[in-house]
């Protein structure tokens, strides 16, 4: 009864807006504070929108292409499934049960198919981004290239961060010999020119045949040499966190080392990791695009970097061919950097508002 009375009296005193504000403040954990700060940051929100747009685009293109391949193999679309060469996948088509089998809904020109007679067309209504030197539709190339370009950035950065976090937390927690060894390894990795090393490795493994093609080699090698920075940041974070009282309290409760490291200390260093990942994805996408630009990508892949490489010499005559892939790489890097900077500001505990 007492609580009901209290509620009534507060309703008396506070107007509805204040009450609603109190309601939103309740349970205001760290993340809702971070979200509120990002919302105030206009450039950060722009970055967030760009990133969300790109992620949606990559997922949509991945799903549509997969669906199209699946339908074609099911025989729903025209073509002979037993003979891939005969498949009629000039366009991305959508066919739903009940539609006439010979007239599916045409969505896009297939990113891998080209019509030589349509080559080098400037942007027009039929081809908003124009066509490339051998007759690919640039919109289709850009749309379906998002999957590879973004996935490479994500996967490359995530594996790097996971390796770096694991090694950094072990070294930071135990210190001593393990830490010394780790630091020396990082110094060795840092003393080598990464980009040239990557090119060397790609050339070395040019003929290797593993699922994922040449980009799998690139991603694996990138994460093998790229974890140093993350490891150092996590390590220094652990150095300050491991002497906190709650670690000792946890030990007094009988928790094992692994539990303390990964369940208790690591969540406390999540903020820098999120910033590393966000800014790192931009850098990784940029690095892979740069590798492709210099001709060390996968010529068979549909990706922005490879398209940029293919048509870089046509910049003056047919500017749309290299321009649109370059523009999308630029927007991706810009979006992730803006979001990363906003996150860095929002996660800074010294800022309070």
């Amino acid at each position: 009864m007492a609580t009901a009375e209290q509620e009534q009296s507060t309703e008396f005193l506070l107007d509805e807006k204040t009450l609603r504000e109190i309601e939103t403040m309740k349970g205001a954990g760290q993340w809702s504070i971070v979200w509120r700060r990002i919302k105030k940051d206009k450039m950060g929100m722009l970055g967030l929108y760009i990133v969300i747009f790109l992620i949606l685009m990559a997922f949509a293109s991945w799903i549509i292409l997969g669906f199209d391949n699946w339908l074609t193999h099911q025989g729903a679309l025209l073509g002979d499934p037993s003979n891939p060469a005969s498949l009629n996948n000039l366009y991305i088509e959508l066919w739903l049960p009940g539609m006439p089998a010979d007239s599916p809904l045409v969505l896009f020109q297939h990113p891998r198919h080209h019509f030589p007679e349509l080559a080098k067309l400037p942007p027009s209504f039929a081809h908003p981004f124009g066509t490339d030197g051998i007759g690919h539709d640039m919109v289709s190339r850009i749309f379906f290239g998002a999957t590879v370009s973004l996935a490479l950035g994500f996967i490359g950065q995530m594996t790097t961060v996971i390796i770096g976090t694991f090694l950094g937390s072990i070294a930071g927690f135990y210190g001593g010999f393990i830490d010394e060894v780790l630091q020396r390894i990082i110094e060795i990795l840092y003393s080598m020119p990464g980009f040239i090393l990557m090119i060397f490795i790609i050339v070395l493994f040019e003929d290797v045949n593993i699922p994922g093609g040449r980009y799998a080699v690139v991603v694996i090698f990138f994460s093998l040499i790229g974890w140093g920075g993350t490891a150092l940041i996590v390590r220094s974070n652990f150095f300050s966190l491991k002497h906190q009282d709650f670690v000792e309290a946890e030990r007094a409760l009988g928790a094992s080392d692994m539990r303390i490291i990964f369940k208790h200390i690591l969540p406390n260093s999540l903020a820098p990791l999120i910033i590393i990942v966000t800014l790192g994805i931009a850098n990784t996408i940029f690095l892979f695009a740069a590798l492709a630009f210099f001709g060390f990508g996968d010529p068979n892949a549909v990706s922005w970097g490879d398209d940029l490489n293919k048509w870089q010499n046509d910049l003056l005559d047919y500017p749309w061919m290299p321009m649109f892939p370059a523009l999308f790489i630029f927007f991706t890097v810009l979006g992730f950097n803006l979001l990363g900077d906003a996150l860095r500001d929002a996660l800074d505990p010294r800022l309070k508002d």
Binding site: F246, A249, E250, R251, A255
Partner: protein, 356 residues
């Protein structure tokens, strides 16, 4: 007033813990011998840096290593030496049979988890219960330690609690597995006085309810007087006096204990100057030889105190002192010189004995 040895819950013999730092070896604990009886509260009192907290960490085997190392001694709990247990066996005892609460409740809780998560985790570490049962139990313990509307507060983060409430959460966490021994490392030091009283009251009540022994570490003689059955006085890594609270407060034997008690202002006493203990606590990298108190001691026996470590002498059952005033060597030294150092509160019988 001593109790039969089968009532002993925890016994520490000759514990020695050093820290091997770059500046040198910090001899934090030189020799600690004490026993904790079942369902009693033992106070561990001493200046900052006298090794109280390190003793607690040594009992649980969680001295930070490196640089810390327990060099020798045994910690016997329920008849088994905890120092000989494997790491995983020891983890089963920590938090389960021996729990610990820390000085600063502001930093001893993990800031990124709700208090409910943390109490539940403590329960699930030692008991086979589901997450839901653990949470229900957490709520029950939280209301037991006096956290109002525990069923709502269980989902709050530590930063949403005040200092006193956080210390209650810490106590709830340590009580979650019904430990037999609770080590409370200055549980009330960082709280303000009214909250201090509440927390101490809570500790006292729960120790009775759970039939649990407490080692209460503090430098506040008032807290000791309020809470404890027995008290052990530590100085620079040695236990210098241990005994029943009434005996120690009424007639302290060790010069250091006397100094400590003399330094407490009393509202009822005449407005005399408080006695002081000269000097400061020594640097433990290079501590004074033998009896580490000798440079500050009013009863310093030249040639003896700095060369021979005094043994722990049992004055009467359950009351031991580590001081040359009461050892055979000391008595011989005084007899040789016709010295009458034993003065003040020391019972006449002993003073007479020393005189002889």
């Amino acid at each position: 007033m001593s109790r039969p040895s089968e009532d002993i819950l925890l016994e520490i013999n000759g514990l020695r813990t050093y820290f091997f730092t770059e500046e040198g070896v910090v001899k934090a604990i030189e020799s600690v011998d004490l026993e904790v009886y079942k369902s009693e509260t033992l106070g561990l009192v001493g200046e900052s840096g006298s090794g109280k907290s390190v003793t607690a960490l040594s009992i649980l085997g969680i001295v930070p290593d490196p640089p810390g190392k327990i060099l020798s001694g045994e910690v016997i709990f329920h008849g088994q030496d905890l120092r000989k247990l494997s790491d995983s066996d020891m983890r089963k005892i920590r938090g389960n049979q021996i729990a610990m609460i820390f000085q600063d409740p502001m930093t001893s809780l993990n800031p990124v988890f709700t208090v409910g998560d943390q109490i539940s985790e403590a329960i699930m570490l030692h008991q086979k219960v589901t997450k839901k049962e653990a949470k229900e139990k957490s709520i029950k313990i939280m209301s037991l330690v006096g956290i109002p509307s525990a069923d709502e507060r269980v989902d709050n983060y530590p930063f949403e609690f005040s200092g006193g409430m956080r210390q209650r959460v810490m106590i709830a966490m340590s009580l979650s597995c019904n430990p037999e021994l609770l080590i409370a490392d200055e549980p009330s030091t960082s709280l303000d006085v009214t909250i201090q009283a509440q927390i101490l009251e809570l500790l006292k009540a729960t120790s009775e309810e759970f039939d649990m022994s407490i080692i209460l570490i503090t430098h506040d003689m008032g807290v000791i007087a309020e809470m404890c059955d027995r008290v052990a006085v530590m100085y620079a890594g040695f236990i210098c006096e241990i005994g029943d609270i009434m005996i120690i407060f009424k007639s302290p034997y060790h010069p250091y204990t006397r100094g400590l008690l003399g330094a407490i202002p009393r509202p009822d006493a005449a407005r005399d100057d408080l006695t002081i203990i000269r000097g400061a606590i020594p640097n433990l990298i290079n501590p004074p030889s033998a009896c580490r108190f000798h440079p500050r001691c009013d009863y310093h026996m030249l040639g003896l105190c700095e060369s021979v470590v005094p043994e722990l002498v049992e004055i009467e059952p359950g009351h031991s002192v580590r001081c040359h005033l009461y050892t055979d060597e000391g008595k011989a030294w005084m007899a040789e010189r016709g010295d009458k150092r034993v003065i003040g509160t020391v019972p006449k019988s002993i003073a007479a004995e020393v005189k002889k």
